[in-house]
Symmetry: C2
Subunit: 138 residues, 2 copies
């Protein structure tokens, strides 16, 4: 039986080996999984980016979030140029293992535009309205 199918029947507090789960993560054809970053205290969803196996392992070992940049095709240590680090507080995996949820403490804005969250376009009827402004980080 598939590991994730097996886990469906487990009780709260039951556990599996992380090594076994990691071996079963269904990475896509590019070797990636989507990872949602959520601010741990406020619950704000900050961004979605992608992780490969190496990014997951580095994030867990360093405690700072590292993604895989699809545009640059290399590991992307969030904050390495901006200083806007994400400290990992908890890593969760969804029911079938194909999405990650990172509970983080975000230093400054998560978005490259200087906004706290990347989700600053809100659909309202026939318009798309800007719901936030860049933070003043000077």
């Amino acid at each position: 039986m598939n590991l994730f199918k097996h886990a469906e029947t487990l009780a709260v507090g039951d556990s599996l080996s992380w090594e076994a789960v990691l071996a079963e993560l269904p990475f896509n054809a590019d070797g990636l999984l989507p990872a949602i970053a959520q601010q741990v205290d406020s619950g704000e969803v900050l961004m979605l980016a992608w992780m490969n196996r190496a990014a997951i392992l580095e994030t867990l070992s360093s405690g700072r979030v590292c993604y895989w940049s699809r545009s640059r095709q290399r590991l992307w240590r969030k904050g390495e140029t901006s200083g806007h680090y994400q400290t990992l507080k908890e890593l969760r995996i969804d029911c079938d293992g194909d999405t990650l949820l990172l509970l983080v403490d975000q230093q400054g804005p998560a978005c490259h535009t200087g906004r706290r969250s990347c989700f600053y376009h809100t659909v309202q009827g026939d318009r798309v309205v800007m719901n936030s402004a860049p933070q003043n980080t000077a």
Copy 2:
């Protein structure tokens, strides 16, 4: 200039035409975008699924969330068999248009396992611990 690049410079409350934004959404090679569902009041991240253009339009017009099922290759009206509907409260789009955030009111569990959220596996050291149990929906 790319529409999303242009929007980076807009102020809070400024807006774009939804029709124009929809035309520029960078769907992937399968015609899909990832969509994060977040419970609107609690902030809990419930699940991630995928939407094509038709799913987005149906969701906006009906007010009930409709995804694209990659396994079944058809529109997936969340709750159509389980009764666990998601009422759309707000649709947000990220900075470069390639991820959607759905603020929803989730009826019952979001997860097919009966758990409120799909993200019930928590990595703790060398173990992956179950952090929630199926809800009693009888």
